[in-house]
Structure formats: C-alpha cells, structure tokens
C-alpha cells in the first residue's frame, strides 16, 4: 500500500500512522520534518515541479519496496509557505520487522532530500529571501544506500 501526497494544507501524522498500524505488520516508523527556527527565520516557501513530483515520490516508494519487505509506505510533502514550527514532510513505513521499517524510513528521507523536485526558499523576518543550497551531507547520505 503506497500513498504519496503533495499538499498545501497540514497533515495529521497520528492518523497517517494509524492507517499503517491497521495493516498489522507490527513495526511502524515515522519521520516528520518541521520548519526549524533559528532566531531570524520566518518561514520557508516550498516550491515543486507539479508534473514530476508524484512520479518522483512513487519512484522513491517503489525503490524502498524493492529493498525491504514493507506492508505500506506513506509519503506526504507539503508545498507553499510554511512558517517556523510547521510540519513539512512525513515519511511512514510499516513492516513485520523493526529494522526494515526504520531503515526504509531513513532511506525514503535521504531520497526525498536528493531526488524529489522540491526547492526551499528561506523567508527572513526582515523580509529578505534566499534559496536553500544543497548540502553535501545529504548527498553523502543518499549515496550511502546502494542504488
């Protein structure tokens, strides 16, 4: 069961997790990314490539399914203006085994950072804006997984 979703509105992690628990696998991992404040940040503006995004998320989910025995994967990524403290992304996996569930969740996040067509712009409290640059640590993390 794969669910991928790109939305402007907020999501309810608890109910998404319940949906995967309903599959009865026994091991459900979730990761939530949130806009982290740093004192001067006001919001992130999340842009994406609508024609490509769902395809890219499905490809990530399919690759995870090929690597681990999973009952279900849920990926939700928000777009638009997200203020400090708001949720950005949810990756949730359900498996019979905790290690498969945790590793798959970690893998999905690493892929999201490097092969899903999203771009973040930082909006500062003084009104200035700047595009977030890719981080070498994200590239390294994604390369750490074979394929």
């Amino acid at each position: 069961m794969i669910k991928v979703s790109v939305i402007e509105s907020d999501f309810d992690a608890g109910s998404e997790i319940k949906n995967l628990l309903a599959l009865g696998g026994g091991a459900v991992t979730s990761f939530i990314g949130q806009v982290r404040g740093d004192g001067t940040l006001d919001a992130l503006e999340l842009e994406h490539y609508p024609a490509m995004t769902e395809k890219a998320l499905r490809k990530i989910a399919d690759k995870a399914l090929g690597k681990w025995d999973l009952h279900g994967i849920t990926i939700i990524h928000r777009v638009g203006r997200l203020r400090v403290g708001e949720q950005i992304v949810l990756a949730c996996t359900c498996s019979d085994h905790r290690q498969a569930s945790i590793e798959a969740c970690s893998y999905i996040m690493d892929q999201l950072k490097t092969v899903a067509p999203f771009w973040k712009k930082e909006i500062r409290q003084d009104g200035s804006e700047s595009w977030v640059e890719e981080r070498q640590s994200d590239l390294d993390a994604a390369k750490g997984w074979k394929n």
């Binding site: 950072k113 899903a116 890719e134």
Partner: protein, 91 residues
C-alpha cells in the same frame, strides 16, 4: 548537409532559475544539429545573453527530461518537456 528543420521543446524553470530568467516556462525552437541538453543550453546561451547569465555555472543546474532526471548528455529526441532547475532541497 540537408537543410535544418527546427525542432521545438517546452522548457520549464524552477526556483532561482525561474526567478532570474523572469519566466516559468517557454517553448524553444532549435536547429536539428542540437541533439542533447548540453547543446541546447549552449544554443540558448548563444542566442541571448540572459541565458548566459543564468546558465553560467552548469554544475549548479539540474535537468529533467519528460519528468526524469537526466544529465547534460541526454538526447532530446522527441521529448516534450525539459526542466531546468537548481539542485533539489526538499524533505
């Protein structure tokens, strides 16, 4: 050499590429000699200094052809949509 027939492709831009070019998409005609993305970018740079400005450092650009990530050497063939954007920063 046969007479060149112009091909065309829809190009979409995102993030700072879009902002600096001042548009989010356009249809580009290009000569048959232009066969891959690298050649298309070069062609654009030769046509208009605006592209030279934005496409200065190719290492800072990423490309998707019909919604799949590809490199500069990807053949354009019958592709309908080329996307040019900075490295992704989602998640």
């Amino acid at each position: 050499m046969t007479k060149e027939m112009p091909n065309q492709i829809n190009i979409v831009y995102f993030a700072w590429v879009k902002e600096r070019l001042g548009r989010d998409q356009e249809v580009i005609e290009f000569p048959e000699l232009v066969e891959n993305i690298g050649q298309l970018v070069e062609h654009l740079q030769n046509c208009d200094p605006a592209y030279r400005n934005v496409f200065t450092d190719l290492k800072k650009l990423r490309f998707a052809l019909d919604q799949d990530f590809v490199g500069l050497d990807a053949a354009l063939r019958d592709a309908e949509e080329l996307a040019i954007f900075p490295p992704v920063t989602g998640g």
